[in-house]
């Protein structure tokens, strides 16, 4: 039992005031009596008018005094020292940074679980036991401090909020969250900040001034076994691709691991690495086959799985490289050069005897750098139909123009155009076609331009690579002379070279990245493709939208893994950018508790003790796990009860 404010005792003056009012009360009920004769004598003997005699046997007075005493007592803010009731306001700061997803070691016999789960359990225990009468405010940390609930009295909702906590793998706002907690408790007297963390804390928490006590609970012990993939890159080198993986052992014990390298999901190579304590190991993989996405993975169970994978993308050249196989066509060559592409011309000899062909086949080697597009003008050279060349053609976009075969005379008929990117700016107005090649259409082909039901241009995709064929020889038409020709060539090249996925590279989770959004995009979303995001079944995340449709700045999903940013236009066509969301590398560290974090708890406690010593209240011995339970409600209820009784007495009649 204690008193919150002795100042309230001043209101105790109301009790003598009530007594004085009763004494000075001059309200007598007039009663007529025949004569005073006897009363005079009675009063003369008794002196019944002595003031204090009025106070006798007055139920109403005693009730009023009781009510006043209760109210005065209530104004003095009395309280019980209840065990573990908690402060009035408890601000819980939950460290939801990436390191909280680390698994606690299974040494205790229990199945290993995320630190986050353990923290949630501890937080709920704390609310249940040490803050059972408190108002709960819950802060978690994302890229910014995140206020989940504020001054919540309903503890079931507080528990729900705790359950809803999720790990944020991006760069967490540590000190900002702590600063918000400090600001939330600035003007409060009976409040407390409780920080739940694994001790890995970036920044300087001691720089944040607190006016209330701070407690720091450390979740999970820091045995600290973590291997992380720090860097992973793939570069083109003569003779194939070379990947470089930098892995680091963050723990203080030596370890070894296998590094697996995958290309488009297929295991390509495996390397064995000895990991010295707190040292990085660089592993190089050479002669990697072509793949769109490479994935490096650290084998083995370390505590923090978020940094065990990394992705690299084979970077498409900024300027497409075009291999032009031609027997000489200036218009085509200039047209291709106008697209800004790097054109490598490979002059084919005039069609000669088969001996020459066989000689060439043996001599002509495939280029070192695979081109982004192969343009074959005229007859397909014989060497290209077999061996390495065929493989190259199979996995490269190919544009053929003309070629041998029987012809059909169309006699200058008007071309009919289908809707296709190649035709975007083309009209073929006033273009004369004398004849077209009559060829059996391959499976992939759909006519894009046709003249009198004979296909003139066919396009399609074979083995995932775009194919385009002009079924006419450029020499047989005046199309190269028309103004549209360079435009059609440009559109054809951009269609043929752009269809492949582009990558946005490696991005830290939660950061904002600028993504080129096509003008006709109607919807866009992040789709989890691989890695942790895939195993965690991260749902599609719709792209953020601004006033003018989908905004160009998008936030990278917070769960690490491979994502595709899919854009869909009104025609239902999809294009995607691949991106890797990677965890904040800071979180990979283990075993390094931020000492300043513990210091803020002690400093705030010390301040409190000093304040207590100043006020002279003997609360120090209680300050441990006891808390004040205000009796205000109880007293108010009692006073109300007394007033009700008083009203009953008043209703019944006069006093006594």
């Amino acid at each position: 039992m204690g008193i919150g404010s002795w100042l309230g005792l001043w209101f105790g003056l109301s009790i003598p005031a009530i007594l004085a009012m009763y004494l000075l009360k001059r309200k007598f009920l007039d009663t007529k009596v025949p004569s005073h004769l006897l009363w005079q004598k009675v009063l003369k003997n008794l002196e019944a008018n002595r003031p204090w005699q009025k106070l006798q046997n007055r139920l109403l007075l005693w009730l009023q005094l009781l009510a006043a005493a209760l109210l005065v007592f209530a104004l003095m803010k009395p309280f019980w020292w209840a065990p573990g009731g908690g402060k009035e306001h408890v601000v819980l700061v939950a460290d939801t940074s990436g390191s909280m997803s680390a698994l606690t070691s299974a040494a205790q016999g229990s199945p290993s679980q995320e630190r986050l789960q353990q923290m949630k359990r501890e937080m709920k225990d704390f609310i249940k036991q040490k803050a059972k009468d408190s108002e709960i405010t819950l802060l978690s940390m994302n890229a910014e401090p995140n206020l989940l609930i504020s001054r919540e009295k309903d503890h079931s909702r507080a528990a729900e909020a705790v359950d809803s906590l999720q790990v944020y793998f991006g760069r967490a706002a540590y000190d900002e969250t702590l600063s918000l907690a400090s600001a939330l408790t600035r003007e409060e007297k009976d409040a407390e900040v409780v920080v739940f963390t694994d001790g890995l804390w970036r920044g300087d928490p001691s720089s944040i001034p607190f006016q209330v006590p701070v407690r720091v609970f450390t979740v999970g012990e820091q045995t600290g076994f973590n291997l992380s993939l720090q860097q992973f890159g793939v570069k083109d080198e003569p003779g194939g691709k070379t990947a470089v993986v930098v892995a680091k052992n963050h723990s203080k014990t030596a370890s070894s691991t296998e590094i697996n390298l995958y290309g488009d999901g297929k295991l390509l190579q495996t390397a064995y690495a000895d990991m010295k304590p707190e040292a990085a190991v660089t592993t190089t993989f050479r002669d990697l086959p072509e793949a769109k996405v490479y994935r490096a993975e650290l084998e083995g169970n370390d505590e923090y799985p978020a940094d065990n994978e990394a992705y690299a993308f084979s970077q498409p050249n900024e300027t497409p490289r075009i291999l032009l196989l031609t027997r000489g066509n200036l218009f085509l060559e200039k047209g291709l050069q106008l697209t800004g592409a790097e054109v490598v011309k490979m002059a084919l000899p005039e069609e000669d005897s088969g001996a020459v062909d066989s000689k060439q086949t043996s001599e002509t080697t495939v280029p070192d750098h695979p081109p982004d597009l192969i343009v074959i003008d005229g007859q397909m050279p014989s060497f290209a139909e077999q061996g390495e060349w065929k493989k190259l053609l199979d996995r490269t976009p190919v544009w053929t123009l003309g070629g041998g075969g029987s012809k059909v005379n169309v006699g200058g008929g008007q071309p009919k155009l289908e809707s296709h990117p190649v035709n975007r700016y083309a009209s073929y107005n006033g273009v004369y076609f004398s004849s077209l090649l009559e060829r059996k259409l391959p499976d992939w082909a759909t006519p894009v331009v046709s003249i009198e039901n004979h296909p003139a241009v066919i396009a399609g995709t074979e083995n995932g690579e775009p194919r385009l064929s002009f079924l006419f020889d450029l020499q047989e038409t005046d199309f190269p002379l028309s103004a549209e020709f360079p435009i059609v060539v440009h559109e054809a090249v951009s269609w043929l070279t752009n269809s492949g996925g582009k990558s946005l590279g490696r991005l830290t989770a939660g950061t904002r990245v600028e993504i080129p959004i096509a003008a006709d995009t109607v919807s866009a979303r992040w789709v989890a493709k691989d890695g942790m995001a895939k195993t965690k079944n991260v749902a599609n995340i719709e792209a953020e939208k601004g006033d003018k449709g989908i905004s160009a700045l998008q936030q990278v999903p917070s769960v690490p893994g491979l994502y595709a940013f899919e854009q869909e236009n009104s025609a239902g066509e999809k294009s995607e950018y691949l991106a890797e969301s990677s965890a904040d590398p800071y979180e990979a560290q283990t075993g390094e508790k931020n000492g300043k974090l513990a210091a803020i708890g002690q400093a705030a406690d010390g301040k409190e003790t000093a304040a207590n010593a100043e006020s002279g209240a003997a609360q120090d011995k209680h300050s441990g796990n006891r808390s004040k339970t205000p009796l205000l409600t109880l007293l108010a209820g009692l006073a109300l009860l007394v007033i009700l009784v008083e009203w009953g007495v008043y209703q019944r009649g006069r006093s006594i």
Binding site: K25, D30, T31, P34, S35, L37, L38, N45, A48, N49
Partner: protein
């Protein structure tokens, strides 16, 4: 207003048989029922005496004279009436007790208005006296004589008495000494004087004693009838009260407690015993009645019991 309202008729029949128990024989002008102490002209033979010239020859006993030759006069007892004076206190303090509805409700046991009860008592005594051929005078007083009724005689005058009593209003401060100090207030003839009052008198008992002495000196056999309402005998008051005197209109603030009421009862007993003592010192009868008594209880019980009325 008829007499039946003041006195019920069945009671009047019973009252007719009664007579006042006065020990006094009073000389009067007319023949009455009451035997005078002197010889007179009634039919009751008393004695013989020798004739002296001047005697009424109608009383000369011719029979004795013829037998003895000596002149004798027959003497008879003189029958004389009694002078009965009724004083009713009509001061404001008497007008207490009973509600308006109860004033006409004789059968009810609720306490009657004190004044009405006193008037009924006076009417009963007056009627008894008139039926006994007494001379009856009635007075109403407060601090002076408010009204007086000329002397009545005979039953036929009963209605005039009732009417007089009934018509007398209440009001004013009561003072027996100043009222009876007025000239002509005290009856000239000796007789019986009934005073009906609550005796809430501001004058002390000494002054009351002196006026009683004057009455006794005037040859009056005085009967004091104190009429009190039950509220005065056992007041049931509580709380903070300003007690207002009905005559003086002054207030007295009292916080009533059980102790105060206890003291009041003690004071009442003390005051009554003091008045009784003052009366008994002068050979004066003292009767206390509560207004919640019935008239019959008062007349046949209390008055007859004390011998003031003979059955």
């Amino acid at each position: 207003m008829t007499s039946t309202q003041l006195l019920p008729s069945d009671l009047m029949v019973r009252l007719e048989r009664l007579s006042l128990g006065s020990g006094k024989r009073v000389a009067g002008m007319l023949q009455g029922k009451r035997r005078s102490s002197r010889l007179g002209s009634s039919l009751e033979f008393a004695d013989y005496r020798a004739y002296t010239p001047g005697d009424d020859i109608r009383r000369f006993d011719w029979g004795v004279y013829s037998r003895t030759g000596k002149p004798f006069i027959r003497q008879f007892m003189d029958e004389q009436e009694l002078m009965v004076s009724l004083y009713v206190d009509c001061s404001a303090s008497m007008d207490f007790g009973g509600t308006e509805a109860e004033k006409g409700n004789r059968s009810g046991r609720a306490a009657e208005n004190k004044l009405l009860f006193a008037k009924r008592l006076a009417a009963s005594i007056g009627y008894v006296a008139l039926c006994s051929y007494e001379r009856v005078g009635a007075y109403c007083y407060s601090n002076r004589l408010d009204g007086r009724l000329p002397i009545l005689r005979g039953r036929g005058a009963a209605n005039r008495l009732f009417q007089f009593l009934q018509d007398m209003p209440s009001g004013g401060e009561g003072s027996l000494a100043s009222a009876l100090g007025e000239p002509g207030a005290i009856p000239r003839l000796s007789g019986m004087t009934w005073i009906f009052s609550d005796f809430w008198l501001n004058e002390g008992t000494a002054e009351i004693g002196s006026i009683l002495s004057r009455l006794a000196g005037a040859g009056q056999e005085v009967v004091l009838v104190q009429v009190l309402s039950p509220e005065e005998i056992h007041p049931e008051l509580s709380g903070d009260l300003r007690l207002i005197d009905s005559e003086l209109n002054t207030g007295r603030e009292v916080a009533i407690t059980g102790r105060v009421l206890q003291r009041y009862r003690e004071e009442l007993a003390h005051y009554q015993s003091e008045l009784r003592k003052t009366a008994s010192e002068r050979g004066i009868s003292w009767v206390t009645l509560s207004s919640d008594m019935t008239l019959q209880e008062a007349v046949f019980g209390v008055f007859a019991g004390t011998g003031l009325i003979r059955v």
